[in-house]
Amino acid sequence: MILTKESVNKIREKLQQYPKPKSAILPALTVAYRQAGYVDEGIYKEISKIINVTTVEIAEAATFYTLFAKEPRGKYLIQVCHNISCALLGADSLIGYLQEKLNIKIGETTEDKMFTLVTVECLGSCSTAPVMQINQDYYERLTKEKVDQVLEDLRSKA
């Protein structure tokens, strides 16, 4: 069992809100993903038992949505927006800076499993570009100084 009792309860609670159990697939995946940092076959099976929807149906949905990573990643998933408003304010240079600082390329995870770096589409934060999201949190109007600070804070928190 990967899902904690708390997650299972949250999923059960969500399930009750919908007229049809299939609607609870995304909320269940969200709960699982927020807890485990990824979702996979094993997790689909666990969810399947809770919401009574087949594993195939859950997998079918899960594979459509990019938000749910399908394998474990670093403790902190750094998602940098490379869409237009951010690109106009130096997103490429920000991505380069992060690659250099973390000594990894896009899609890779640092050796100590602390950070994974990915690029994403518009995060809905265009008027405070450039922007990145680390796990659930947004970091906006980024500067080199801010990036340094954020990474340092996360490292010292770990």
Partner: protein
């Protein structure tokens, strides 16, 4: 709790008796129900529920001229009136909070800072269409907005604005907060409904339209966050008042998300019909172009709308003027870029996005955006061959108007507009094997 540092014109709005959406968004207490109520919140909801018939609410919103703020600008009241009166099935309301159109970041501010206004608007719309269970579909990345909406909904239940027998009227209403999985296409209303049903987020063929057969094959209304947040103001001040704002055919106010190369990017609520130039240059709004460089172009309504050149920006921000001026109001996301920006580089970004977000249901969009991406990358990279620009144009023509949902058109309209407006720059890439302007934006 998390709060975006985005700039708003709340101070200006507070001084105006015409603007309301942003009145309290700089007040950190506004997220709490006590403050919201103190500021006149839920008064419209109570009035609707205790004094008005559903059809009166629909008529009021119809007469106000309020149009959808999610992109298409469809009249809200008219849409509500399409819900069949005699259907024995349950009806549903879905608030569209997927906000993923590049450049757009306004609905987020409303959810983060005035979540009860969204709930109140949703409740009124629900009553109007006879819905007893309303949903808000929030893009998965906005986890903090979902948390905030959850909290606000809980408060609304506790204060008797949601739940059973609200205000003793006998009307029951429940609210479900639903989060997505990171797919732009789920903002398209039929894909949203599939996603809400636990399916892959693919668009449905219309008809049937959602108002007749939507969520779980029941009559369903999908409205944007901002559209719904505007509804309480229509009720509070009346249709005539709302109609008096803005222009004749574009009534009311609208939030514009200003981004890109301006000095003061931010979210600004203005009356429809506001001059685009003023939004970009006025000290109280955009404050002019970054580094006082020369303006090169503007995307006025989000990344899916045709571009404008500097000689086209003497235009007002309302649905009609923008169409007349060669573009669209869209979601109200104004993206500004200056002279150091390569036009093909912008298109490369956007085409990558649309290819990535195509749901794959129809061939012209699925295959077409993939070809476009390959070709455009090649051109931008200086490897384009003679005839490539024409090929881009041809592929665009094969997509335009030939797809199940508007994402296909959204992908090609911006491209076609740049082919018209900056043809020489496209051709330059072929003739000289490089960009005419080198794009290299440093972040500091």
């Amino acid at each position: 709790m998390f709060y975006s540092p985005v700039r708003t014109n709340a101070a200006e709005v507070a001084k105006s008796d015409k603007l309301h959406l942003f009145r309290y968004v700089e007040d950190p207490e506004q997220v709490k129900i006590e403050k919201f109520e103190e500021h006149g919140g839920y008064v419209a909801w109570k009035k609707v529920l205790t004094e008005m018939e559903p059809v009166q609410v629909i008529d009021e919103v119809k007469n106000s001229g309020l149009r959808g703020r999610g992109g298409a600008g469809f009249p809200a009241g008219l849409k509500w009136s399409f819900v069949p009166k005699d259907s024995p099935k349950p009806r549903y309301l879905c608030c569209n909070a997927d906000e993923s159109e590049p450049g757009t970041c306004k609905d987020r501010v409303l959810m983060e800072r005035d979540p009860h206004a969204v709930i109140e608007g949703m409740a009124i719309a629900s009553y109007a269409i006879g819905c007893h269970q309303m949903f808000i579909y929030i893009r998965g990345e906005f986890a903090h907005c979902a948390d905030r909406m959850e909290k606000a909904a809980k408060e609304a239940y506790e204060h008797g604005h949601l739940g059973k027998n609200i205000y003793g009227s006998g009307f029951n209403l429940d609210m479900v907060i639903h989060t997505g999985g990171g797919a732009y296409i789920c903002g398209e209303e039929t894909a949203l409904l599939n996603s809400l049903e636990g399916e892959r987020g693919m668009s449905r063929i219309r008809p049937p339209f959602p108002a007749v057969e939507g969520l779980y094959a029941c009559p369903t209304i999908v409205n944007n966050v901002e559209t719904l947040a505007s509804v309480p103001h229509v009720i509070n001040h009346g249709a005539d008042w709302y109609k008096s704002l803005g222009t004749e055919k574009s009534s009311g106010s609208k939030i514009f998300s200003l981004s890109g190369h301006v000095k003061r990017p931010g979210n600004y609520e203005v009356e429809l019909g506001f001059p685009l130039k003023k939004l970009i240059y006025d000290e109280d709004y955009g404050g002019g172009i970054l580094g006082d460089k020369k303006l090169k172009g503007v995307i006025p309504g989000g990344s899916s709308t045709p571009f404008l050149t500097p000689d086209m920006i003497d235009i007002n921000l309302d649905y009609e003027s923008l169409v007349e001026g060669g573009s669209m109001l869209g979601s109200g996301a104004v993206i500004v870029f200056h002279e150091d920006t390569c036009i093909v580089w912008i298109i490369k970004r956007l085409t990558h996005f649309y290819r990535h977000e195509s749901c794959g249901k129809c061939t012209p969009c699925r295959e077409g955006t993939a070809w476009l991406e390959k070709l455009i990358n090649r051109i931008e990279d200086g490897q384009g061959k003679p005839g490539d620009v024409e090929k881009v144009e041809e592929i665009c023509g094969n997509i335009l108007g030939h797809t199940v949902c508007p994402l296909g058109d959204a992908a090609v309209m911006p491209i076609l507009s740049t082919l018209k407006l900056w043809r020489d720059e496209w051709q330059y890439h072929i003739d000289y094997g490089k960009c005419m302007v080198k794009t290299d934006f440093e972040f500091k």
